[in-house]
C-alpha cells in the first residue's frame, strides 16, 4: 500500500470522538486507527478527541477528596500500572510521552490541595485522565498530540459560581480559519483531549458531564469540520429510551432542532449542549456504534430529508413538580407574571414548561437538589400564596412527542390521545416552533404508559417507521439477543395435502394436532404452574379438546354449551366455569353438576345467595388496569365489564361468609396477546397478596393472554423468563396452587384457513384480491384489527409482485382480511392460506349474509 499524497491546506477536517470504553482496550484502539485511516483516505484531515480510560475520571475525582498523600500515591500507583499495562498491550515503548503526564500527576498529588486553591488543583488533577489517554493514543496512532487547552477557551458567565466555572465551564466557539490553518500545519492526523479547556487566566478547567462530546462539537465548529462523529456504545438516537421501549426505532436523520429537543427531553446518548456550537456553522454530527461501525447510526444535520411529517421520538422525564397558580382577574394586570416568576428566581427554582389559562398558570420544575432537599419549594409556595392560590402537583412525568411539523400530525394522534385521556393529564404544552407536544402525567403511570404510547404511534402511522430514510431497525432487533430461529410453520410441509383439502371445499379450517401438542408440552414444562386449563372458547373442536385432555390440560368454560362440549369430548378433564353476566339458571345448573363456578360480581351472592350455600366458589377480581394489543381484548380496568372491583372485595367476602360459600379460587385475567413475560408475575403477586386475606383460598388463577408475535420484529414470549418470574413469587406464597388458562396460545398456530380466489379488481391504484372467506369466516381482522399472515398457497415461492387488499364476499366495507400485502399476482381459483387461524376463527364464524359456516378438518 502506497502512502497517500499529502493533503492540500484546504482539505476538510473530520472530528472523531471516542469515549472511555473505546480507549480502554487494544481492540478498540485498532478500531480507532482504522477509522482515522479511512477518514484520511477520504481526503480529510482527522482530529481524534478522546475521553479518559473508563472509570478513570471517577478514580481521579475520588483521589481529589483524599487528604492523605500516601493514600493518594497508592491510587497513583494503580493508575500508573493500568496505563502501563495498556501501553504494553499496544506494543508501545515503555518510556514514551505519556510517562511525562504521569509524572505531572504525581507532582500534583504530592501537593496539598490548598497550595493552588482546591478547585483549580482538582481541575488540574482530573484533566490527567484525558491527558494520559491521548498521549498513549498519539504514540499508538503515530498522530500529532495536541493540547486541547491551547485551542479551547472557556468564558466565565456572569452568574456562574467558581465551582461551575472550574469544573463545568462554558465554551464559546466560532469557526476560525486561522486556527484551522495552524492546526493543519501540525499534521494530517491529530489527537487531543475531550473534557478539558483553559480559562482566560490560562488555568485548566473541565467541561462537566458529557464534556468530551462537548469538546468534539467545539472543535468541529472551530475547524468548520465536514462532520463530527461521536463513536459510542449504541447506534445512535432512538425513537424512545430503549430500556423502556425495546421496540424503539433507530433515528437515521434529524435536524439540529429535533435532536436538541430529544436530547433535552430525556435521551442520554448525547448531551444537549453539544449541538449548539454546530448549528450556526452547519457542521453535521454523526452518532455511530464503535462495535458495529457498518451501522448507519444517526445523522444530525441542517438539511432534513424530504419526507412527510413524522413523530420522531417519544421521550420522558421523571421527577417533575408542577406549581399551579390560580387567581381571578389578576393575569391581565401589568407585571403580575413578572412578579410571580421573580419568586421562582428568588428561591433558585428554574421553570421549564408553562401552561396558562385566564385564571390559572401552571409551570413545571425539574428535579434538582434544591427542590428535593431544601425548603425552597415550601418557601416559594408561602410567598406565592400571598398573591394567588397555589397547588403543588407531584410527582409527575413529562412525556414529549418530538417531530417537526407536530401540528400537522394531530389527526394521527387519536389513539394516543384516547390512551392519555384515561390518565390524569395535568398540563399540555406545545410551543410555536411546532417541534414538540408535551403531556405531564402522574409519574406512577409513566413507565407503563410509554411503551403503549410508542406502540400507538407506530400503529397509527404517526411515527412513520416504514420510511427507511428516517427510521432504522428497532433496538431489540439490533441489540436484544437473537431469538432461537423460529421453525418453519407446519403447513409448509403439508402443502400438497392442504391443496387437496382445498379442492374439496372452501372456506376450510385445518387444525394440525401435533402443533397443538407441542404448544401444550412447552407450557407443561413450566415448573411453577400447578394446573393448566385450556380456555376452550378459542376453539371448542372436539379433537382439540381430547388432545389437550391427553396432555393433562383442564378445560375452562364460559357458557353451558361449552360445559357440554367439554364433558362430551373430555369427560374426565377438570373444568372451570367462569361466566360473565350469565343468568341465574346457568349458575344453578353448573353448581348442581358439581362444577367449580367463578363469580365476578356481588349480584349473584346478594340476589341468589342460597344457590352458593356450602359451595366452593372462585372469585374473579379486576386489578384495575387492562393490557393487550387492542381495546376490545382488554379485560381489566374500569372500562371493562369483567371482574369484581377491589373496593367490593371486603363486601364479597363478608357475603360469602354469611352465606357459607367458601372462596377457594382467586382469579384475574387482564387481557390478551401479551408478549411481556413480566406481566403474569405482576398479576400473580397482586393476587397472592390479596389472597393472604382469604383464609379458605387454595389456588390463584392468573388467567391467560399469552401472546404470539403478530408483526415483524416482535419477539415471542420468553417462557423460561415467565417460569422464573412465577417461581420467584411461588417461593414466597407456597400455600397457594398456581393455575393458568391460556387459549389462543395453544391453538392459533395449529390452525390455517384455506380460501379460494373469487375475483380480482383494480380501483384507484389499489388492487383487490377477493376470496371466498370473509368476516363471516374469520372475524378477528374486522373486530380487533388483528393481523394474520396471508400467502398464496398455489403460487408458494413465486415473486411477490403485487400489493393486494384481501377482501371477502360479505356486504360490509369492513370485510377485509388483510391490507397492503405483497403477494404473487393471483388468478381466480388460487388457494390462499391465512395463518394463525386456529383460535377465534371457526369459533366466531357466523352465517351472515346466509353464506354458511366454514368446513373444519383435523390433520394428525
Amino acid at each position: 500500500m502506497s502512502e497517500p499524497l499529502p493533503l492540500p491546506v484546504s482539505a476538510p477536517w473530520i472530528v472523531l470522538k471516542f469515549g472511555g470504553t473505546s480507549v480502554s482496550t487494544t481492540a478498540r484502539w485498532k478500531t480507532i486507527r482504522d477509522l482515522a485511516a479511512a477518514r484520511r483516505a477520504e481526503g480529510a484531515r482527522v482530529l481524534v478527541v478522546v475521553s479518559a480510560l473508563s472509570g478513570m475520571t471517577d478514580t481521579l475525582k475520588g483521589v481529589c477528596a483524599e487528604l492523605d498523600v500516601t493514600q493518594r500515591l497508592a491510587v497513583w500507583a494503580r493508575i500508573e500500572s493500568r496505563h502501563a499495562a495498556l501501553a504494553a498491550a499496544l506494543g508501545l515503548a515503555p518510556e514514551a510521552a505519556w510517562r511525562t503526564q504521569l509524572q505531572s500527576l504525581h507532582a500534583l498529588l504530592t501537593q496539598a490541595a490548598s497550595a493552588q486553591g482546591a478547585l483549580p488543583w482538582q481541575a488540574a488533577v482530573m484533566a490527567h485522565g484525558e491527558l494520559l489517554s491521548s498521549a498513549l493514543g498519539a504514540d499508538f496512532l503515530g498522530a500529532h498530540w495536541l493540547d486541547a487547552r491551547g485551542v479551547l477557551h472557556a468564558h466565565a458567565q456572569p452568574n456562574q459560581s467558581e465551582r461551575v466555572q472550574r469544573l463545568s465551564a462554558t465554551l464559546e466557539t466560532a469557526p476560525d480559519a486561522a486556527v484551522a490553518a495552524a492546526l493543519a500545519q501540525r499534521g494530517e492526523v491529530l489527537i487531543t483531549q475531550g473534557f478539558i479547556a483553559r480559562d482566560a487566566a490560562g488555568a485548566t478547567v473541565l467541561l462537566g458531564r458529557g464534556g468530551s462530546d462537548t469538546s468534539a462539537a467545539h472543535f468541529g465548529a472551530l475547524l468548520r469540520a465536514a462532520r463530527v462523529e461521536i463513536w459510542t456504545d449504541v447506534a445512535g438516537m432512538f425513537s424512545a429510551n430503549p430500556r423502556q421501549v425495546a421496540d424503539a426505532r433507530l433515528l437515521r436523520q434529524l435536524d439540529y432542532e429535533e435532536a436538541q429537543e430529544i436530547a433535552t427531553t430525556g435521551a442520554k446518548v448525547l448531551h444537549p449542549r453539544c449541538l449548539a456550537p454546530l448549528r450556526a456553522p452547519r457542521v453535521p454530527l454523526w452518532i455511530k456504534d464503535t462495535e458495529r461501525p457498518a451501522l448507519d447510526g444517526t445523522v444530525i444535520g441542517a438539511e432534513a430529508v424530504s419526507a412527510s411529517p413524522s413523530v420522531k421520538a417519544l421521550s420522558m422525564r421523571k421527577g417533575i413538580t408542577l406549581v399551579a397558580m390560580e387567581s381571578i382577574g389578576m393575569w391581565q394586570q401589568v407585571g403580575f407574571l413578572a412578579d410571580v416568576f421573580a419568586q421562582f428566581k428568588r428561591h433558585g427554582l428554574s421553570v421549564d414548561l408553562i401552561g396558562s389559562a385566564e385564571t390559572n398558570v401552571t409551570v413545571s420544575l425539574d428535579s434538582t437538589e434544591n427542590l428535593l432537599d431544601s425548603d425552597a419549594l415550601a418557601a416559594l409556595a408561602a410567598d406565592l400564596a400571598r398573591v394567588c392560590r397555589v397547588k403543588v402537583i407531584a410527582p409527575c412525568a413529562a412525556i414529549t412527542l418530538v417531530g417537526r411539523g407536530m401540528r400537522s400530525m394531530l389527526h394521527r394522534l387519536e389513539g394516543l390521545l384516547a390512551e392519555l385521556g384515561s390518565q390524569r393529564v395535568h398540563l399540555i404544552s406545545q410551543s410555536s416552533n411546532n417541534l414538540n407536544l408535551t403531556f405531564v402525567v402522574d409519574e406512577a403511570v409513566a413507565d407503563a404508559l410509554l411503551p403503549r404510547l410508542h406502540a400507538l404511534l407506530l400503529h397509527s402511522g404517526a411515527l412513520r417507521a416504514d420510511d427507511v430514510a428516517l427510521f432504522g431497525p428497532s433496538w431489540q432487533a439490533l441489540y436484544a439477543p437473537a431469538p432461537a430461529a423460529q421453525p418453519a410453520p407446519w403447513w409448509r410441509g403439508a402443502r400438497a395435502r392442504l391443496l387437496d383439502a382445498a379442492a374439496r371445499a372452501t372456506p376450510r379450517y385445518i387444525y394440525h394436532l401435533p402443533t397443538v401438542r407441542a404448544r401444550a408440552r412447552a407450557l407443561r414444562a413450566l415448573g411453577a404452574v400447578d394446573r393448566w386449563h385450556y380456555a376452550l372458547k378459542a376453539n371448542p373442536h372436539p379433537a382439540l379438546l381430547s388432545a389437550l385432555d391427553a396432555e393433562g390440560f383442564g378445560l375452562e368454560c364460559v357458557a353451558p354449551g361449552e360445559l357440554d362440549a367439554a364433558r362430551a369430548a373430555a369427560p374426565r378433564a377438570p373444568r372451570l366455569f367462569t361466566p360473565n353476566f350469565a343468568p341465574r339458571a346457568d349458575y344453578a345448573a353448573a353448581l348442581d353438576a358439581g362444577e367449580l363456578v367463578t363469580l365476578d360480581a356481588l349480584h349473584p351472592l346478594q340476589q341468589w345467595g342460597a344457590l352458593f350455600a356450602a359451595r366452593e366458589i372462585g372469585l374473579r377480581v379486576d386489578l384495575g388496569s387492562g393490557v393487550g394489543h387492542h381495546e376490545k381484548v382488554r379485560t381489566g380496568g374500569s372500562a371493562s365489564k369483567f371482574g369484581l372491583p377491589l373496593t367490593d372485595l371486603a363486601e364479597f367476602l363478608a357475603l360469602a361468609r354469611r352465606i357459607g360459600a367458601r372462596v377457594v379460587l382467586l382469579h384475574a385475567h387482564l387481557g390478551s396477546g401479551v408478549l411481556d413475560a413480566t406481566h403474569w408475575p405482576g398479576v400473580y403477586a397482586q393476587l397472592a397478596s390479596l389472597g393472604e386475606r382469604i383464609g379458605t383460598l387454595r389456588a390463584l388463577n392468573i388467567g391467560g393472554g399469552l401472546g404470539l408475535p403478530q408483526r415483524a420484529g416482535e419477539q415471542p414470549l420468553d417462557l423460561a423468563a415467565l417460569d422464573a418470574g412465577l417461581g420467584e413469587i411461588k417461593r414466597a406464597y407456597p400455600q397457594f396452587e398456581l393455575w393458568m388458562e391460556p387459549g389462543r396460545f395453544l391453538v392459533a398456530e395449529a390452525g390455517v384457513l384455506l380460501a379460494r380466489v373469487t375475483q380480482l379488481k383494480s380501483k384507484d391504484a389499489r388492487a383487490y384480491l377477493g376470496v371466498d372467506a370473509g368476516m363471516h369466516t374469520l372475524l378477528r381482522p374486522a373486530l380487533y384489527g388483528a393481523r394474520h399472515g396471508i400467502v398464496n398457497l398455489t403460487r408458494l415461492g413465486a415473486p411477490a409482485d403485487a400489493l393486494y387488499q384481501i377482501v371477502g364476499p360479505i356486504c360490509e366495507s369492513g370485510d377485509v382480511l388483510g391490507n397492503d400485502r405483497r403477494m404473487p399476482v393471483a388468478q381466480e381459483g388460487d388457494v390462499v392460506l391465512i395463518e394463525h387461524a386456529g383460535a377465534y376463527g371457526a369459533a366466531m364464524a357466523s352465517n351472515y349474509n346466509l353464506r354458511g359456516l366454514p368446513v373444519e378438518e383435523v390433520f394428525e
Partner: protein, 452 residues
C-alpha cells in the same frame, strides 16, 4: 386440586389444644402441638451458625425455648379456638401462666372480634403448676439484638443505638428481601432466623378453620430471647412506640388492640418474666417506647440513606423492585399513615419521590385517611399511630401552602377542621418523650437521638 388435606379433622370440633413438646438440636428448634389426638403440628426454627450452649447457658436456653413453645402455640391454637389448652410435660409457674393468659386473650382479641368469638369465657388452661425458678445472671456480653422489620421504626432505633456506640446485631425472622435490603443498608452484623410453620396450618385455613391476626411480636420476642442466649447478647431492643399501647376499638366491654403485643403491658410483663425465668441479666425492651410516631418520623426524615429501601407497607408484595410502587401499595392504612406522618418533616418533592405518588391528592383515598383521623370511622386494624396524632399532622399540612390545596388536605380544611378542638392539634406535644419505658441503663442515652 389438593386432596390429602381433606382428611384432616376440623380443629374447630376439637376439645383440647395440646402443647406436646419442644426440642433443640444442631441449630434447629422443633415445636410440637396437636388438636386432641389429631396429627402433630410441627414448627421448625433454624438458628444459623449457633454455638452449642453449655452449662448455665444450656439451662437458660431450655427455659427460653419452653417460653417460646408456649407463646408460639398461639398461631395454631387460633385455628380451633378450643375451650381447653393443655400444657404437657413439666409444670408452669404462676407468672408464666399469667402471661400466657394475657397473650392468648388480649393478643387474640382482634381475631375473636373478627370471628365473632368470645374467648374470655372460653379458655380453660390444663397445666401442672410449678414453683417459680429464680434465673441466674449469665454474664451475657454487652451486645444488643435489634429486630429489624423493613420499616422506619427499627431503622431509627438502630441509628439511635449507633450514636452511643452500642454494639448491635440486626435480627429478623423469616425470609424477606425487603428486610434483608434494609439490614444490608445498616452495615450491621446480621442474624436471620428461619421459621417454618407447620404445613397443616395452611390446610386448616383452606378447610375454613378459624383464621385471623395473632400477636406475632410476642412470638418473635420469645424467638429473640432464645437467640440472645444462644449467640450471647445482654439486651433485645425492639422499636415499638407509645401509641402501640392504645386500643383500636372497644368490643363488648373488651379493649381490642391490633398491636397489643407491641404495647407497654406486654413489654413490661415479658421483660420481667425473662429476667426472672430465663436470665437475670437479659434485658428486653422497646427503645422507642416513650416516643410517639411523629417523633419517630421526624427523626427518620433525617436518615435519607434509607429512603429508597424501607417500606412499612405490609400489603404490598414483598419482592423488591426499583419502583416506589414495588414497596408501597398506596392503599393500606400503613401507607396512609407513614405518608402523613413524614409529610410535616420532609420537603414535599422528597416525600413524593419515596412513595412515587401523592396519596393526599387522591380523592379515592379519603375513606382511608378518615379512618386514620378517626373521623366517622374507627381506627383501622393496623399498626398505625393514634388518631389525634394523625389529626395533628394533617392540621400542620393544612397550614402549609405547598400542601393545603391537595384534595384531601383541602377537604380536611373545609369539612373536618372546624369540628376539631384547635388546642389539641399542635405537633409539639407529640415530639417529646412521655410515659414509662423499660430501656436498660446501658442503652438509655440512645433515647436522646429522638430529641430535636
Amino acid at each position: 386440586m389438593p386432596t390429602a388435606m381433606t382428611e384432616l379433622p376440623d380443629p374447630r370440633q376439637a376439645r383440647t389444644f395440646r402443647f406436646v413438646a419442644c426440642d433443640y438440636a444442631q441449630g434447629e428448634a422443633v415445636l410440637r402441638y396437636a388438636f386432641d389426638d389429631g396429627p402433630e403440628l410441627v414448627e421448625r426454627l433454624r438458628f444459623p451458625g449457633a454455638p452449642v450452649p453449655d452449662g448455665a447457658h444450656a439451662q437458660a436456653f431450655r427455659r427460653a425455648l419452653r417460653l417460646l413453645h408456649l407463646l408460639a402455640g398461639v398461631s395454631y391454637y387460633k385455628a380451633g379456638a378450643t375451650p381447653e389448652l393443655a400444657i404437657e410435660g413439666a409444670g408452669v409457674d404462676g407468672a408464666t401462666l399469667d402471661l400466657l393468659r394475657a397473650v392468648y386473650t388480649h393478643g387474640l382479641a382482634e381475631f375473636a372480634y373478627r370471628n365473632g368469638l368470645d374467648l374470655r369465657g372460653r379458655m380453660h388452661w390444663r397445666v401442672q403448676t410449678a414453683a417459680a425458678v429464680a434465673a441466674p445472671a449469665l454474664g451475657l456480653p454487652a451486645r444488643t439484638l435489634v429486630p429489624i422489620g423493613g420499616g422506619k421504626d427499627s431503622l431509627v432505633a438502630i441509628e439511635a443505638l449507633r450514636t452511643i456506640g452500642a454494639e448491635c446485631t440486626a435480627a429478623w425472622v423469616g425470609n424477606s428481601p425487603l428486610i434483608a435490603a434494609c439490614a444490608a443498608r445498616t452495615g450491621l452484623p446480621e442474624l436471620n432466623i428461619e421459621r417454618t410453620l407447620a404445613p397443616e396450618l395452611f390446610a386448616y385455613n383452606r378447610m375454613g378453620a378459624w383464621n385471623g391476626h395473632v400477636p406475632v411480636t410476642a412470638v418473635n420476642s420469645a424467638i429473640l430471647a432464645c437467640a440472645a442466649i444462644l449467640y450471647g447478647h445482654d439486651s433485645i431492643a425492639f422499636a415499638n412506640e407509645r401509641s402501640a399501647s392504645s386500643a383500636t376499638l372497644e368490643y363488648d366491654g373488651q379493649q381490642v388492640n391490633h398491636q397489643w403485643s407491641k404495647g407497654w403491658d406486654f413489654e413490661r410483663d415479658f421483660a420481667r418474666l425473662v429476667r426472672r425465668t430465663v436470665a437475670s441479666d437479659l434485658h428486653y425492651c422497646s427503645l422507642l417506647r416513650p416516643y410517639a410516631e411523629l417523633a419517630i418520623t421526624r427523626t427518620f426524615a433525617k436518615l435519607p440513606q434509607y429512603f429508597e429501601v424501607f417500606s412499612s407497607c405490609n400489603r404490598n408484595f414483598r419482592i423488591l423492585g426499583p419502583q416506589p410502587s414495588d414497596r408501597w401499595c398506596g392503599q393500606c392504612p400503613k401507607c396512609h399513615f407513614v405518608f402523613l406522618a413524614l409529610a410535616p418533616f420532609l420537603p414535599k418533592p422528597r416525600l413524593l419521590a419515596i412513595f412515587g405518588r401523592n396519596l393526599l391528592d387522591d380523592d379515592t383515598q379519603s375513606a382511608g385517611f378518615d379512618a386514620l383521623l378517626e373521623y366517622r370511622d374507627h381506627k383501622p386494624f393496623e399498626c398505625v399511630g393514634e388518631g389525634a396524632e394523625a389529626r395533628a399532622a394533617m392540621a400542620a399540612l393544612a397550614r402549609r401552602p405547598e400542601w393545603r390545596e391537595d384534595a384531601l388536605v383541602a377537604r380536611f380544611r373545609s369539612e373536618i377542621l372546624a369540628q376539631l378542638d384547635a388546642g389539641a392539634l399542635a405537633l409539639g406535644p407529640w415530639l417529646t418523650p412521655q410515659g414509662a419505658h423499660g430501656v436498660p441503663a446501658r442503652l438509655r442515652a440512645a433515647l436522646d437521638f429522638l430529641r430535636a
